[in-house]
């Protein structure tokens, strides 16, 4: 890299770029985390308030056992797959945005 002195007035180093960057990424992370946490933290509540339902038997398993011990893993894979696709797309957007801004500036 030829490493010119960084130009602090360009888009990348602006306050607004950093803010949008962090806000977008955090929003995505929080949305995924919320889905996960509602399911995870809801499970003990279901056990607590609906013990009858959770003790009902499905193929020998109690419903609660089946949900926690087996089905929870695929559920989490779905969330993480979605997150990774979205966050890689987000990064590509950002790179494109910066490239566009830099291109525009050179032309001026």
């Amino acid at each position: 890299m030829s490493s010119p002195t960084p130009d602090h007035d360009d888009l990348v180093h602006s306050e607004s770029f950093l803010r949008t960057l962090m806000r977008r990424q955090l929003a995505l992370s929080i949305a995924c985390a919320a889905t996960f946490l509602i399911a995870l933290l809801g499970m003990p509540l279901l056990n607590y308030f609906a013990p009858g339902l959770m003790a009902s038997r499905v193929g020998g398993y109690t419903l609660s056992w089946l949900l926690v011990g087996v089905l929870f893993f695929p559920f989490v894979w779905v969330i993480s797959y979605y997150f990774i696709r979205r966050s890689i797309a987000l990064e590509e957007d950002e790179v494109a945005e910066v490239a566009q801004a830099r291109g525009g500036k050179e032309r001026r």
């Binding site: 960084p6 950093l18 398993y61 990774i84 890689i88």
Partner: protein, 580 residues
């Protein structure tokens, strides 16, 4: 048994089991030595030259993560405590999601060798590095104890005459030696190989056992009340439970023996104990989920990914690899309850923690030596489990000692050769301490001890990483106070529980009088994690003039896509600013 000690030691050894275990150990050591030849420079030892492909890295992370707790402890705890123990495998696997969502990408982009490097880089504070190093060691030692117990239990199973501590010393010495010679480069290969070995060793015996003795579901169905309509009746030959085993109903239901123990000891009625159980459950979940996102020896591996996208892909694969794995250990616990209930009566090295090793052997009753062969395979898996995790921990703790304490604090001007020597000596010191600690904990459950290491990580590293990555207002003083406050509180509570459970100090009467305090000490995460975060916010606000001047650049490096090439720019500017 004869009176000659060596013969007594070998009395009752099953040749198949011995053979499989022996081969595992020899192959592991051989791989260590082989890679020792190819890794020469200091950076090879620390982060494996930073060039590991996604597939290898994901297998290696999983291999390192699936410790004795996952391989032996989960099954043992499901057998002894039932449903409540399921939270462990679920949160061990799902905690990774938190790591992926909030921490993996930014950390990788920031580009530092270790967590102490991150702590120093983010806050420009060498003092903070020292504090972070202490926690690498605290959490590390807590996490090595259950691995050592796994080693002791497995060797006591293979050699029925051998005392628990001999197994701990033997295995500990072998791995310490291996790490001192091989470093991490070797370990990436070995770890990846060991993941697949563990997966094979836990799944194949499960399928065979289910084919012979009935499926997972059918065995669970045995716990239903007699005559209940929901049970699909399949013939399962169930052995009579011993007196010490929990009753079916309590075992298979949520809020069973594990989470109600403290309240029961206080003599509360079943209705009164339920809120306590709920509290215990939530605190456990918080500790495990946040703790996974803060385990130092796991985090170090994110730096071996070539870029941020690869780091994310790696995490995805890790979640799949460990998620699939964690379906199996509870099956051993369920089948073990019906087929091998004798273990409930024993304690320490002979108790339920060895169910994974011993259960396949009952196939011998029907099909000759096949049970021994399968038992040999699970023993080999157990060796892979505690050897790989112990090596990983040893590398990260030794790295902290050699790279940070020696290379940065004690002798900053030491040569590369000196540092390599320091690495080897540190490995021996850390290994020695781990062996001594491991020999003390025969009576504690493997899984329980790992939960404690997670609780400390959850209250120290997790808040540090999470807040430093996402909040620019954080100052060094805030971060250090929060991490020390939360982490030391968790450390004190778990240590107190361990010394009282090991009967070093008798607190039975006190715990019985205060079940709430017992629960909050046994599972401290529910108050220590918020404590750490609140401390961080309050102190950072109070010292807001100390926010690093180039904070915007730091945040940009943490969050902007790597393709923009900001990291290099940041480092150049930073060094220019420091006057180097």
């Amino acid at each position: 048994m004869t009176t000659v000690p060596t013969l007594a030691l070998l009395g009752g050894v099953d040749p198949w089991i011995f053979a499989f275990s022996f081969v595992t150990v020899v192959v592991t050591i051989w791989m260590g030595f082989r890679s020792a030849k190819t890794s020469k420079t200091a950076s090879d030892f620390f982060v494996a030259g930073r060039s590991v492909s996604v597939g290898w890295n994901a297998s290696a992370i999983s291999g390192e993560y699936l410790s004795a707790a996952s391989f032996m402890g989960v099954a043992g705890m499901v057998m002894s405590s039932g449903y409540d123990a399921l939270w462990y495998p679920v949160c061990y696997a799902c905690g990774y999601l938190f790591l992926l969502l909030f921490i993996a990408g930014p950390l990788r982009r920031f580009g530092a060798y270790t967590i102490p490097d991150f702590a120093e880089g983010r806050f420009d504070s060498p003092l903070f590095r020292k504090i972070a190093v202490c926690f690498v060691l605290f959490i590390g030692f807590f996490y090595t104890m259950p691995q050592m117990k796994g080693a002791g239990v497995t060797l006591a199973y293979i050699f029925p005459g051998m005392p628990y501590w001999v197994g701990v010393v033997l295995v500990g010495a072998v791995i310490t030696f291996n790490v001192a010679l091989g470093g991490m480069k070797g370990i990436t290969l070995v770890q990846a190989f060991q993941y697949w070995m563990k997966m094979f060793a836990i799944s194949v015996p499960v399928f065979v056992l289910m084919a012979v003795f009935g499926t997972y579901g059918n065995h669970l169905a045995e716990t239903a009340a007699p005559g209940s309509p929901a049970v699909n009746v399949a013939e399962i030959e169930r052995k009579t439970l011993v007196d010490k085993a929990p009753a079916d109903e309590a075992w298979v239901s949520p809020f069973g023996p594990l989470t109600t123990k403290a309240a029961k000891a206080a003599g509360l009625t079943p209705e009164q104990t339920k809120p306590y159980s709920l509290l215990y459950t939530y605190s456990l979940i918080i500790a495990l989920v946040c703790g996974t996102a803060g385990l130092p020896h796991i985090l170090v591996r994110f730096y071996t990914n070539p870029d941020g996208v690869a780091a994310k892909r790696t995490t995805m694969w890790v979640m799949i690899l460990i998620g699939v794995f964690y379906v199996f250990p509870p099956v051993f616990g369920v089948l073990g309850r019906n087929l091998l209930p004798e273990l409930y009566a024993a304690t320490g090295a002979k108790g339920t923690d060895k169910i994974v090793l011993e259960l396949p052997r009952i196939i011998n009753e029907r099909y000759g030596i096949w049970g021994s062969i399968l038992s040999g395979i699970t023993c080999a898996g157990a060796f892979a489990a505690f050897m790989s995790t112990f090596s990983g921990l040893l590398v990260s703790m030794t790295g902290a000692l050699a790279h940070d304490v020696y290379g940065r604090i004690l002798r900053p001007r030491s040569s590369a050769e000196d540092r390599l020597k320091a690495f080897k000596i540190s490995a021996i010191v850390v290994g020695g301490v781990a062996i001594v600690l491991g020999a003390q904990v025969e009576q504690l459950q493997i899984n329980f001890m790992v939960g404690q290491a997670f609780a400390i990580a959850a209250a120290s590293y997790f808040p540090l990483l999470f807040m430093s990555v996402w909040w620019r207002g954080m100052t060094m003083k805030g971060a250090a106070t929060g991490m020390l406050g939360g982490g030391l509180a968790a450390l004190a509570c778990t240590t107190l529980i361990n010394v009282s459970d090991l009967k070093v100090v008798d607190l039975t009467a006190f715990w019985a009088a205060n079940p709430l305090i017992r629960i909050l000490c046994e599972q401290p995460a529910i108050w220590t994690v918020p404590l750490a975060i609140v401390l961080m916010i309050v102190i950072s606000k109070a010292t807001s003039s100390d926010i690093p001047a180039d904070i915007r650049m730091k945040m940009l490096v943490l969050h902007a896509p790597e393709k923009l090439g900001l990291k290099q720019e940041y480092i150049q500017e930073h060094q220019a600013g420091m006057g180097h």
